[in-house]
């Protein structure tokens, strides 16, 4: 029997007798992963696929994400759907800062991952992970609603794996980890700073 885990055979035996055994971690994670409230925040074309996921055909309500909150103070998940421009980037970081812990970010679509088809842009930010940490990336242009549901389930799996105690415990329970990130300012030619070095390091090309 591993630390914190109950033997599955014992658990099902007890359940047949009407006794339900769990651990604090499982209960906490089960509650959180099945009621993720996304922030109602669509930027561009991917937002329409996000709305289609919330519509009746690809129902996201069955996963618990029915209520899209308009206010960041009440949301757990920010689905960054669409191209992020440099003009919009400070507002996105501000919105992320306003969300309470524990919070997650799904980067939906090629534009939010790395700038997408609009990468050669004087106003396009090459990926939201330059300023805020991202949990799940969904490629596609736009990704199908099924892909967003798959990402949602991946996020649920990730939440399920988060531990409450120990060295690998979840980020929001560590007292030293930042939950707010500095907001970039508008410079004369570009945003200042162009990326947050704590969050994003561009890999260096190896010279051969």
């Amino acid at each position: 029997m591993t630390e914190g885990q109950i033997d599955e055979g014992l658990r099902s035996e007890l359940q047949r007798q009407g006794i339900w055994v769990t651990s604090m971690q499982e209960l906490y994670n089960w509650g959180r992963k099945n009621s993720i409230w996304p922030l109602q925040f669509g930027l561009a074309c991917c937002a329409i696929e996000m709305i289609a996921t919330a519509a009746s055909r690809y129902d996201i309500a069955r996963f618990g994400g029915e209520i899209f909150r308009p206010s960041p103070r009440q949301a757990d998940l920010m689905i960054v759907a669409g191209t992020i421009t440099k003009k919009m980037a400070p507002q996105i970081v501000r919105l992320y800062n306003q969300m309470p812990d524990p919070k997650y970010v799904i980067s939906m679509g090629a534009c939010a991952i790395s700038g997408g088809p609009f990468k050669q842009g004087y106003n396009v930010l090459k990926g939201i992970d330059r300023y805020i940490p991202v949990d799940v990336y969904i490629p596609g242009c736009p990704p199908r609603p099924e892909a967003l549901l798959h990402a949602f389930m991946e996020l649920q799996r990730k939440i399920d794996d988060q531990k409450l105690t120990g060295a690998n415990k979840a980020q929001h329970l560590e007292p030293g980890q930042p939950s707010e990130f500095p907001v970039p300012a508008f410079g004369e030619h570009d945003l200042e700073p162009p990326a947050n070095p704590d969050v994003f390091q561009a890999p260096k090309l190896e010279r051969v």
Binding site: N123, E188, D190, P194, A202, K204, R207
Partner: protein, 229 residues
């Protein structure tokens, strides 16, 4: 719709002193345009909007165009005396045109259901002479579009009610749609950089390891048959 020559003569009569040229469009679309000088543009625009036969009351599109300094080669047949015989010879002349910025307006008439009429205005140069009169008092649809041209090209429209940046943030200083705009070095890792992306990526390479004599050993060794990958 009347032909461009007729419109040009009428406009020159109505707005006295206006200098209007016809810019011929060589392509198959048959949309040639009128080049109007800046001093009389507002008067010509009002005439085009109000005259009973024309009634161009709908300004559909306002565009900015950037023309850099360019050299245009023209080949013309010229009579020249060659070896005592008069012949027609091809003579190529090069004409240097200095750069300017341009504003192009497409006009339609909702009343008469004809159009499009294209009119153009050119600035004196691409630097401090980039000023044009605003046609917003004549057609309100030019309001947001002229602001966009100011933001992206840098043409200052005199007489515009609210000229400020519209698509870029206010602290931005460049005019991005100009042909000589250079983007800031917003480094993005590319697995296989190529062309000018490779040139810019070279700034982000790790420094070349110092030569310490090892390369001499590699060159002298003859490759054995087993050592090829």
């Amino acid at each position: 719709m009347e032909t461009l020559e007729q419109i040009k003569t009428r406009a020159e009569l109505a707005a006295r002193g206006a200098k209007i040229d016809i810019v011929v469009n060589p392509g198959p679309s048959q949309q040639s345009s009128l080049l109007v000088d800046s001093a009389h543009a507002v008067a010509v625009a009002q005439f085009l909007r109000d005259h009973a036969a024309l009634k161009f009351d709908y300004c559909s599109n306002v565009t900015g165009v950037d023309w850099l300094d360019r050299v245009v080669k023209k080949t013309a047949k010229v009579k020249q005396v060659v070896d005592g015989v008069e012949k027609e010879v091809d003579q190529t002349t090069e004409e240097k045109i200095s750069g300017y910025l341009e504003a192009v307006y497409h006009l339609y008439s909702m009343q008469h259901k004809h159009g499009p009429l294209t009119i153009r205005m050119r600035t004196a140069n691409r630097a401090d002479g980039a000023r044009l009169p605003s046609l917003t008092p004549v057609w309100r649809s030019a309001e947001l579009q002229e602001r966009e041209i100011f933001d992206l090209y840098g043409i200052h429209f005199e007489g515009h009610p609210d000229l400020r940046r519209i698509l870029m943030w206010d602290e931005f200083v460049d005019h991005p749609m100009r042909k000589d705009y250079r983007e800031p070095d917003d480094y993005e890792w590319e697995p296989t950089p190529h062309d000018d992306v490779l040139e810019r990526a070279k700034q982000h390479y790790t420094p070349r390891p110092a030569l310490d004599g090892a390369e001499a050993i590699t060159e002298k060794t003859t490759p054995s048959p087993q050592s090829s990958p």
